[in-house]
Amino acid sequence: MSPAGCSHVNGYKVDNWKQNLRVIYQCFVWSGTAETRRRKAKSCICHICGAHLNRLHSCLYCVFFGCFSKKHIHDHAKNKRHNLAVDLLYGGIYCFVCQDYIYDKEMEQIAKEEQRKAWKLQGMLTDRSLDYYVSGIGEKYTTWEPTKRELELLRHNPKRRKITTNCTIGLRGLINLGNTCFMNCIVQALTHTPLLRDFFLSDRHKCEMQSNSCLVCEMSQLFQEFYSGHRSPHIPFRLLHLVWTHAKHLAGYEQQDAHEFLIAALDVLHRHCKGDTTHDNGKKANNPNHCNCIIDQIFTGGLQSDVTCQVCTGVSTTIDPFWDISLDLPGSSTPFWPLSPGGDGSAVNGESHLSGSTTLTDCLRRFTRPEHLGSSAKIKCGGCHSYQESTKQLTMKKLPIVACFHLKRFEHSAKLRRKITTYVSFPLELDMTPFMASSKESRMNGQYQQTVDVLNNDNKYALFAVVNHQGTLESGHYTSFIRQHKDQWFKCDDAIITKATIKDVLDSEGYLLFYHKQFLEYE
């Protein structure tokens, strides 16, 4: 069948044909509203035999429905000389003269639009009795049809890259420009954050900055460099310069803290993302606390702080956004009570307890335990209107898609500056459920979670990057492990990339741990 359509439609394309065709699509093919569905249910049966199956078609010239399989619509076409019919199942237009489905550009356009409309309406069904299914979300999947411009681009750039399961695209070394390993590690972690990579490789950043100093544009360039397929190390001098410009406290050639760099980088990226933060109706989000930029979407979580008055047991709750969780370690000058091994946290996360070694879950349990604030830190209670002793407890209200854990190895107290090298074991897979605000509420309501709710996948995370520090506070070196595909790990030591085993990763000291949600839900 020729893709140029057929000439027999010309007889149909008269008067108000477009509107008539739309009505047919809306009422009988893709019924979006409850009313049209009811009408479709009642009237869409064959006028000859009453069947609703058998590839029902509707005549385009009059109100007639007929089976295709039993040729009832063919008879109608012959008798009435109505040469066009539409398939009620798929919306295709059949021409009885050509004896095949035809593809008229204008008609196809109308069909597409009506289908999209109906799909959108379907997605907003609020019929609660049918909530065992997952409703259609957003746009219906349609195959990509390239525009003229896209075809041109494809022809001008004939080189294609095939991604196989073993290919290492995205891996690239970074030259050390003078103690810049702290920056290189974070860049490796960010370029291997899947959602961030997808954002930049699909060109989603629309720059609104007038000057050339947009860090998001530079990140976009960086991703292009990393995924270009070049294997020689990249020299990130432009990135370094931009970092010095926007985060002056990190400028200079001395060794900086990788964690500080991470936070500074996320902050600058978040600020420079202004052009990308739009709501569905096109209005821009100008509230810095409720930004919807890609950085916030990926990294921002909500930390709940509950202060309980010891006298009236009234609770005052605040929720603060966070990009990372900083965890105290045993051996630091802050009091750390080693919790008994085998508590519910580590059972969930399957960490090994090598004769009393600390696990990440231990640190998280300590982080979320109720802390008595002491008589020197009385809080004014809104319930009893007086200063009372209270306990404070932190829990996770909202988990970010990428959770970054910072093990506080560098101690900068008034007395001393040192690095805590205690080994902390961390798992490949992490379940954050025990540390959620909702879990705490269930425990308080007496619903003890004896077994892990395996059906709830919301809080399950997988490790994808680890940043390590070797050496002392005065002179040290940062390296990172990053994960490609499901279980391929690589060690990134500035310009040198080597294959690593999972054991290498899990045995390492760990300074910054990056976890990615395993299952993503739509908001």
Partner: protein
Amino acid sequence: MYVDLKMRATINQKLTEMGERERLKELLRAKLTECGWKDQMKAHCKEVIKEKGLEHVTVEDLVVEITPKGRALVPDSVKKELLQRIRMFLAQHAT
């Protein structure tokens, strides 16, 4: 279980009215894509087109050729799941 034509029509009406038909269609589409059925059918279509020649093949030719194979290749698990869904729906909307 014997389902006569009138009951079939009634069930179809109910499914269409409540929009369940569309949802089931989408579910079926997703399942058939997941299990590779769609790709198998696509490959078979390409063979038929090669045989008949691109200029002369009609949609009808394809339908006739691939319908029996398509029907046979639907996995039992998919059939079971769809049936289960329809049963659940009818149970919830029994009049």
